[in-house]
Amino acid sequence: MSLAQKYPNEVNQIMAKYPPEHKRSAVMPLLYLAQREEGYVTKDALKDIAQMLDITETDVASIVGFYSLYHDHKAGKYRMQVCTDLPCALRGADKFLADLCGNLGIQVGETTPDGLVTIEAVTCLAACDKAPMFQTQGPDGIQYHENMTVDKTMELIEALKNAGKEVK
């Protein structure tokens, strides 16, 4: 099913933001829509968006490749993206990330065996005064989690696990 069929209202709202002769501007919001369910942009979605905007699949793929928040492969349901840049690292972000990975028994870049969480190290998220911190990128968009500890993070992961069960 195409994006326009699946999310007609949202697609219309997105297209209305830009002058009709510059509809290519809609590529970024449409890509967010496209990766909402699977957590990454599928080959079919590339084709679909290219057709909607009269650009090539390569054009769309170049956007996916350039920007960090678009993904071309499947990962955990939630990507847990820990900032390890200088200001956060001065407040213990590297140790937090190592301890968290140790607790989960996975390495940075890996996914928990149940497929729930992928741990990633990312660049600055503009929350330098509230380190250690990370964002979760998942089906419901992006959420910030600030002033975190490993214990609080494990509780969050439990909550995400249970939230998933309710949906099913």
Partner: protein, 415 residues
């Protein structure tokens, strides 16, 4: 002193439209549209001495006066990409005092004759964008956005646009490319955006904090604004304080406040009461200032910080204490710039790649003094040769780190 920008810290629920309006909100916008010509608005902003808060410090009113009135339509774009490591002020404004920012954006749009304004938020500000969409809808319902505002012929719509994780999109021409649905790679300048901007049309791009200064300037006048700060740097600034301090956070202070006041009075001093070793006043793009009493007593304004061999930039003050080795700091900053280089120009793309190899080797203890010399050489070769400021920024901590803290690099390398 009452806040000028972070007014939500003085007035509860200021992010609600009725509360904002009860506290004088949108009077400035109404006054501009109903009683002032667009160029009169620009003149007030020019006279106030307001300079851009994104880092470059370019005079705001002068930028607005560069708009090309022979080419239409015009656009105004708010740069809410806030991605400099150490910067987290625009997010607080948008979350807690959103209407003052939106009012400033609306006034700027009127001043340059734009009927459409875009807010470009970094993709990570997903929740902030959703909140701004609500606030924009509130304004539309209240007749503060839309057609024929306040009974005039002026119309304005504001739209949010989410980026997707690219520091380079804070560079204004890369930002415009990104709104156009392209990779965020800087354009060759000139032409500058006031002549050739979004969709090739005249466009004014300003930082969120810059816009937020505009409503109080229009209400209270240019002289009031200039009465704060220093002659070279008028008004107030939000200083984002981070790193090894007890109380990191945003502090709105007049320009000219000293580093010592910020770090010790507001920031509560250094963790474990250690001595300060270095300060980066402009985030990861910053030169490293060697901290002594003279540096601590230096006023934070554009001209004074320059006497310390650094720029104030976006005033993202990262504090480094004596437990930290500068070779580690440089490795961190280069890791960032290597990741964020857009790849368009060779000196930045290749330079950062090789600088990262060298800083990794030095920091791991596998490097030699020759590697340190080579690192300094690569950085200096990049300077003045990159297409935009990103490449230049990447070299700042490297060059000043090696030149001002040589002992840290000597310790890090193999004997």
């Amino acid at each position: 002193m009452a806040h000028v920008l972070l007014r939500h810290r003085d007035i509860p629920n200021l992010n609600q439209l009725d509360v904002y309006q009860k506290n004088g909100g949108f009077e400035a916008f109404q006054k501009a549209v109903t009683a002032m010509k667009p160029n009169e608005v620009t003149d007030v902003v020019k006279a106030s001495g307001l300079r851009g808060r994104g880092g470059a410090g370019f005079p705001t009113g002068m930028k607005w006066s560069f708009i090309d009135n022979k080419n239409w339509p015009h656009y105004v774009v708010a740069n809410a990409d806030e991605s400099e490591p150490g910067t987290f002020k625009d997010r607080e404004i948008m979350e807690s005092n959103p209407f003052q920012f939106l009012e400033g954006l609306a006034i700027a749009s009127y001043a340059v004759g734009a009927n459409a304004a875009y807010i470009y938020l970094r993709g990570e500000f997903w929740q902030v964008a959703a909140l701004l969409d609500e606030k924009i809808a509130d304004m539309e319902k209240a007749g503060l956005l839309g057609e024929k505002l306040f009974g005039s012929d002026y119309s304005l719509n504001i739209y949010t646009h989410l980026g997707a994780g690219a520091y380079i999109c804070g560079e204004e021409t890369a930002l415009l490319e990104s709104i156009e649905g392209k990779r965020g790679q800087p354009r060759i300048r000139p032409p500058f955006p006031p002549a050739y901007g979004l969709y090739g049309k005249p466009t004014i791009v300003n930082n969120v904090e810059t816009f937020t200064n505009v409503p109080p300037i229009l209400v209270n006048g240019a002289d009031w604004y200039k009465s704060m700060g220093t002659p070279d740097s008028a008004g107030v600034k939000i200083f984002s304080l981070s790193g090894r301090v007890k109380k990191p956070g945003n502090y709105e202070l007049p320009f000219g406040t000293t580093f010592r006041e910020l770090v010790y009075n507001y920031g509560g001093g250094i963790l474990d009461d250690r001595p300060v070793k270095a300060i980066m006043p402009a985030g990861a793009s910053s030169s490293l200032i060697v901290v002594d009493d003279k540096a601590l007593d230096t006023p934070m304004d554009y001209a004074s910080v320059r006497t310390l061999g650094a720029d104030l930039g976006s005033a993202s003050v990262i504090v480094i204490d004596d437990t930290v080795s500068i070779d580690w700091v440089v490795n961190k900053t280069i890791h960032f710039f290597k990741h964020e280089s857009c790849g368009k120009c060779t000196p930045c793309r290749e330079g950062n790649y090789w600088m990262l190899h060298l800083t990794e080797r030095i920091h791991s203890g596998e490097g030699s003094q020759n590697d340190v010399s080579l690192l300094l050489n690569v950085a200096k070769q990049m300077q003045g040769k990159c297409l935009c400021a990103l490449g230049e920024f990447a070299t700042m901590a490297v060059v000043t780190g090696i030149e001002r803290f040589p002992q840290d690099f000597q310790k890090a390398v193999k004997a």
